[in-house]
Amino acid sequence: MASASPAVAPALSPAHLRVSHVTKRFAGVTAVDDVSFDVPKGSFATLLGPSGCGKTTTLRTIAGFYDPDEGDIELGGRRINDLPAHRRGTAMVFQDYALFPHMSVRDNVAYGLRLARVGRDERDRRVKDTLAFVGLTGLEDRWPNQLSGGQQQRVAVARALVIEPQVLLLDEPLSNLDAKLREQLRVELRVMQRRLGMTFVYVTHDQEEALSLSDWIAVMNAGRVEQAGTPWDIYYHPRTAFLADFVGAVNLVPASVIAIEGAAVTLGLGDRRITLRPTAPTPTAGSEVRLCVRPESLLLGAAGSVADGAVVLPGTVVRRSFLGDAMRYWVKVDDREWIVDQPDPGAAAALDGAVSLILRPERAHLIV
């Protein structure tokens, strides 16, 4: 199994949007604490984090709704800190859509073009094209309250896209929709962004959304960027326990580094010794680390099975839970429970009692 990222990393174009050392305080509480990142032109960047982590504040600071207490924001090589929000070219899509209730779909979408004094013919054409682009042709004369949630969200996206902003800011735009629709719109958003080649900055607390949409993710916690990188990196190579835990289910097992020989690291888990070939970073011998393994990276076998080149740990199933696409097991090894997801649970009888936990050496990651 290859460990290199299959996702295309953003091209090495210069930063289109640059946030450098931005700090924002509210009444003494630091909401955003020295946050810096670059977003290349045409990429889909996501700020991911739990509620209250500062991601929305960061987005709103980019939009100009908040003034940063410190730091700079640059867009297209130009510092925009002092530009009022309505001159920044940072159109925003809001969580609650914020459609103008007294305007038809057409007028909602045309609003930004009217402000920009775009001529009538061009305005009509662009509104028509954009509505077609988001799949709303035929609904031009509807009022916002005559639309479903998904349609309203498309209008909100169209209204922002039509003015061709330098960067499109999206603040949890899918969180008010039901799961099925959310997934569908997620795909559409990604396709739209690719086709337009527009820079998107997306805020969400949903790690699955972030992983599936983004070229690049910054995971935020307590006002800081905890880690930034490709979805692949964030998922498989989290740098902190918070990150590993926030982005998906994970086994985090305290371990001590006994010896290092090349890529092989021997770990002590209690009295047990196991040798793995973890992906970066490289620990130092004698240090305490945490072994980080995703549940789906583990295999279960009958008790006493051996697997060539893999670590086999004897355990007991204590609980299981049917998830549909997988069966989740809680397996006790020594005095610690591991979570293991087995795909396609219908293919074989569920396991019970004594089992073997199989860990391939290169499927482990260490948090040092």
Binding site: A63, G64, F65, D67, D82, L83, P84, A85, H86, R87, R88, T90, A91, M92, F94, Q95, D96, A98, L99, F100, P101, H102, Y111, G112, L115, A116, W143, N145, Q146, A156, R159, A160, I163, L169
Partner: protein, 540 residues
């Protein structure tokens, strides 16, 4: 703040509003308070002429507030909690007093119970002395219990029916629910309602003026000092005492409810059904409401009958001469003035209030708390004080080029600005900031976003502000009594003069016409609101 410096037109607009508030709310009031000067106050306080009116005012407020609130509470409880019959009827009757000058109750009272009253003289052949404390107490109770009812009903209907359902579900009886859940939850609101009623009664000028006789209260004392003795200093000092009392009550009210409740005329959505009360209680409430509605209808019935008869009660032949009298000559002018002043003032007040509400509610500039306070303060300023303020500040020879009608209009705009302001703030609280921000992120400046998005969306608040201000403007006596000139007389002034002339036919016809104006405004409002509802349904 940086938002303001980046958008100079917004800064200019804000400065404009601040200048208007300073010129037309702060300046006139300060003029009155400082008018007597230190020596003036010292002499005035030593003179002691203020002691009796102050005592009388406090006495009247204590008595009338107690009875008005008790009756209002019965009415409100019955309307909100019981399933008694005739509720729409009781609701209509309860609105009527909000649409008329409060002093019509005093006029009707004289008509019914006065020395030549229908009941007292006509039926019992008595000529009792009805003036003084007892008369004021009775009249103010009837005049203000409908206000207390509106305020209390508002508080009660806002209490969460789910809590009451939950308490019933846990085994509490209706009385226990009321005592242990409803009352504790609505205590601040009820306290605020009581204080608001007390302010209305304290500031009431028309009723005590008509039937107080030698029993003077602070507002009537201030009036007679100016109109009888030309004693501005004394009047300023008396009305300052009045202001201090009213502000005290108002600040106490603000502490309780944060400035939320105000008698506004608006549609109220029905909430979740409340747990039922015993049928006996419903029937008792029905009887009580019937009696109270009867009192209100007696007042207005007497007015209407008198307006359409030659010399009520001695000659009850039907006639329309009273209305011809009202519609012609200087009376017709007064009626026209009422409509023009009321409309212009209500429109300007509602728009200015909406804009100011937006500046304060959505702004982040320093000093907006102060502006917020100044914009709701006129709600606490007694009409008589406000009128004296405008008289002192703007009845100047250097302003002779200004039509005097404008001074009346301005006084109506700014005395009523809290109405529209609070409606606007309440409306804005319902609208998420993301709506403004959406406009901004699409390239609209803040002012442009206000014009394009919030102004149309807040049409409902604007209408509430307009109608309520119009009604208050055409029914106020105390504010305009110092400001009118013969060509700028308004309906309430003429009614007051006609009552003093004992021209009952003319006075009552004028009152009916004035109330009809208010009702017409309300009907237009209801029609517009219905239109919006219908439109909303057409939109799905």
């Amino acid at each position: 703040m940086r938002g303001l410096t980046r958008e100079p037109p917004l800064l200019l607009a804000l400065l404009g509003v601040v200048a208007l508030v300073l010129a037309f709310i702060v300046y006139p009031q300060v003029q009155v308070v400082i008018a007597p000067g230190f020596d003036g106050y010292a002499a005035f306080l030593q003179g002691g002429t203020w002691v009796t009116p102050l005592r009388n005012s406090l006495e009247v407020v204590a008595l009338s507030t107690t009875t008005a609130v008790l009756l209002g509470f019965v009415y409100a409880y019955a309307m909100v909690y019981t399933d008694m019959r005739w509720k729409p009827f009781f609701r209509l009757v309860g609105i009527l007093p909000l649409l008329s000058p409060p002093f019509v109750v005093a006029a009707a009272y004289i008509l019914l119970f006065g020395p030549r009253g229908i009941v007292t003289y006509g039926i019992f052949g008595q000529t009792p002395i009805i003036f003084g404390l007892m008369g004021i107490w009775a009249v103010q109770t009837i005049a203000f219990f409908p206000f207390a009812y509106q305020l209390i009903a508002d508080v009660l209907s806002r209490s969460d029916a789910r809590m009451e359902q939950a308490a019933r579900n846990l085994g509490a009886g209706p009385w226990q629910v009321f005592r242990t859940v409803t009352l504790p939850l609505s205590r601040p609101g009820l306290g605020a309602a009581i204080l608001t009623t007390a302010i209305y009664i304290l500031e009431d000028f028309g009723n005590p003026q008509l039937i107080g006789g030698v029993f003077t209260v602070l507002p009537t004392q201030a009036y007679s000092l100016i109109s009888g003795f030309g004693d501005f200093t004394g009047a300023a000092a008396v009305s300052t005492i009045l202001l201090v009392l009213a502000l005290g009550l108002y600040l106490a009210k603000l502490r309780l409810d944060g400035g939320r409740s105000f008698v506004t005329i608006s549609g109220r959505a029905s909430s979740m059904p409340r747990p039922p009360v015993p049928p006996g209680l419903s029937w008792a409430c029905f009887a009580g409401c019937l009696a109270l509605a009867g009192l209100i209808l007696m007042v207005y019935g007497a007015l209407v009958v008198s307006a359409f008869t030659i010399a009520f009660p001695t000659n009850v032949t039907f006639t329309t001469t009273n209305f011809q009298f009202v519609a012609t000559g200087s009376n017709g002018d007064a009626l026209r003035n009422t409509i023009v002043f009321g409309t212009v003032a209500a429109a300007l007040s509602a728009v200015l209030a909406l804009f100011a509400g937006w500046l304060v509610q959505r702004g982040d500039w320093p000093g907006r708390r102060a502006l917020d306070f100044l914009l709701i303060m006129p709600a606490a300023i007694p009409g008589i004080f406000f009128g004296i303020g405008y008289l002192t500040a703007f009845n100047q020879t250097w302003l002779d080029w200004v039509d005097r009608g404008w001074i009346i209009v301005l006084s109506m705009i700014f005395w009523n600005i809290p109405v529209g302001y609070q409606a606007a703030v309440a409306g804005l609280r319902q609208i998420d900031r993301s709506l403004d921000e959406a406009a901004t992120s699409l390239g609209a400046s803040k002012l442009r976003g206000f014009r394009d998005v919030l102004f149309p969306v807040l049409a409902g608040s604007l209408r509430v502000g307009f109608v309520t201000t119009f009604v208050r403007a055409v029914t106020t006596l105390s504010v305009v009594i110092f400001l009118f000139t013969p060509p700028t007389t308004v309906a309430t002034i003429r009614i007051y003069q006609l009552v003093n002339d004992l021209n009952w036919g003319g006075a009552t016809a004028f009152t009916v016409a004035d109330i009809s104006l208010a009702i017409a405004a309300l009907l237009v409002f209801a029609l517009l609101a219905r239109g919006r509802l219908a439109l909303g349904m057409a939109r799905g």
